[in-house]
Symmetry: C2
Subunit: 325 residues, 2 copies
């Protein structure tokens, strides 16, 4: 079985690649567990980790049809489409966001349709598809009123995938990812970058700015659990998805103040004191338009699960850091 990961050099793409190769198999559309023989990672840059003979790394522009045609063939059984321009950058550069988040996603579906073998395609979407006046609890069937270009582009990609799936061009599914925290590495241009930064930087002895009010509620998933959810989402039998293949992943609904309290509990006052509270209205406006409370019973019924609590998330991050030392 051949698998493709777009955004395969990114943080989540790399973690997913490792996890898939560790498992060695993936359940196919017939419900059969197949050995993974080739894992194609496509991205703008070479992946940092390629320590497995099954990996083929391809660099290039995924909005380029020829590139997609060169990496998707009739043997490509599953595609994890993770490549994206993140929220902050898509807001700053409208055309770039449209090109990658919308055009490349559509092109990927088109190339699959052209191939005709109906591969499994998993799109990742985001909390940013929601916005505006929201009900107290957000459900899978809450209307999408995105208040950012990133959210708009993700909502459009969801609609495209759903129609390509309905028409039988692909065996498609979309999982809406909570904000991933705690990400290792450096801050990025996502409006949600601070959600990892305010934990990661203090744990590494560095100061970090929290640009939103402590009362802000977030919807979180650890990198490990996110990766497991991507695989489980890809393995879901399409009959279970009914007429709407978009699923809100179960996540932790947590306030920023609670996150910091957990950090204080795990690492003490000095570490928690490394956070500087400095409101950035641009970030607060984007993040504040995302919902904080969720009913993800549909995802749970499909067997998807959240982290136990935010303390466990911090511990998992520390354990990962320890292993990579």
């Amino acid at each position: 079985m051949k698998i493709l990961i777009t955004g395969g050099s990114g943080f989540l793409g790399q973690l997913l690649a490792r996890k898939l190769l560790e498992r060695g198999t993936l359940v196919d559309a017939n419900g059969d567990r197949q050995p993974i023989t080739e894992l194609v990672l496509v991205d703008v840059a070479q992946p940092g980790w390629m320590g497995d003979a099954r990996i083929r790394a391809v660099t290039g522009d995924i909005a380029d049809r020829a590139l997609l045609e060169s990496i998707i063939d009739a043997d490509t059984a599953a595609i994890f489409h993770l490549a994206a321009i993140v929220s902050g950058q898509a807001e700053a550069d409208f055309d770039l966001g449209m090109r990658i988040n919308l055009d490349a996603s559509r092109l990927l579906l088109e190339v699959c349709r052209e191939r005709g073998h109906k591969p499994r395609v998993l799109f990742t979407s985001s909390v940013a598809v929601y916005g505006g006046t929201l009900p107290p609890v957000v459900r899978d069937d809450t209307a999408l009123h995105p208040q950012s270009s990133y959210g708009t582009q993700k909502a459009i990609a969801e609609l495209l995938l759903s129609d390509y799936a309905r028409r039988g061009f692909v065996d498609g599914r979309v999982v809406r990812l909570p904000t991933i925290s705690v990400r290792p590495g450096k801050p990025n241009a996502a409006a949600s970058s601070f959600v990892s930064g305010i934990i990661r930087e203090p744990l590494n002895g560095q100061r970090s700015v929290c640009p939103v009010d402590p009362g802000t509620r977030l919807w979180l998933l650890s990198p490990e659990r996110a990766t497991e959810s991507l695989i489980a989402g890809c393995e879901l039998n399409r009959e279970l998805l009914g007429s709407w293949p978009v699923i809100n992943l179960p996540g932790l609904s947590v306030g920023v103040a609670e996150m910091v309290a957990e950090l204080r509990k795990v690492s003490g006052d000095d570490v928690a004191g490394l956070i500087d509270w400095r409101i950035d209205s641009r970030i607060e406006q984007i993040v504040g338009s995302w919902p904080g409370a969720w009913d993800t019973s549909r995802g749970e019924e499909l067997g998807l699960t959240a982290d136990a609590d935010f303390g466990a998330v911090i511990c998992a991050f520390l354990a990962t850091q320890k292993r990579s030392e």
Copy 2:
């Protein structure tokens, strides 16, 4: 003031053109009533009626950027975007639907953005954006789960317009039109074509097929009221639209059996007997995925109104026919 109507040779485009020229003015973005000096009608075919010196008819492909650039300039104060591939045809020809319903809509927004003067742009959307498991009553904030390519493309166009409006590229608004009934003329490729046919053909002494169950509920608006709603929607001050510029137009929620009962009341048993009941599962599936009951209080608060009852709709159709004899 210069106004553009795409789909200007279509039934609704022609009716809108007449109505606008009759009024002679349109309220602009500053709330000032301006005289209409030029009305550009663009379509694939010449309009049937051009009886006014203010009309400029342009034929061409609205998915062609050069054409759009030739008809949208800094003097274009308002654009009514009615051109579309209808539901049945978009389902039969996926690529054509994508090209006109999605690509041309996006291109129109792009050309407006390029011009930089932020014209008023009104998109028409459709009941077909809804589908799947629906609540008993559909509201403006019910989630969109379109079950047709037409509905998908319309939902995407809504999202695009909303983001272009949010970013200040256009002064945008979308009205979701109920099914227009009674349309004059001939059946078309829309899945909803019968909604006019089962009234119009019997009134003209011809047999007509009803392809859905008499219990099917529809959401209707007469052509006259639809045209008034388009103008009123275009004249709405953008501040009133809040963060989501998409409005479900108030319409009549009516069962097919009630429509036929009204026809019988107005024109007798012989006329109502000209309907042949022959289920077409393809049409029933598409139409059956649309909701029949609506809460359009938001539209009503904005001053938009439905027809009084379906009997009045039939009478208005008869009056229009009489005038055109």
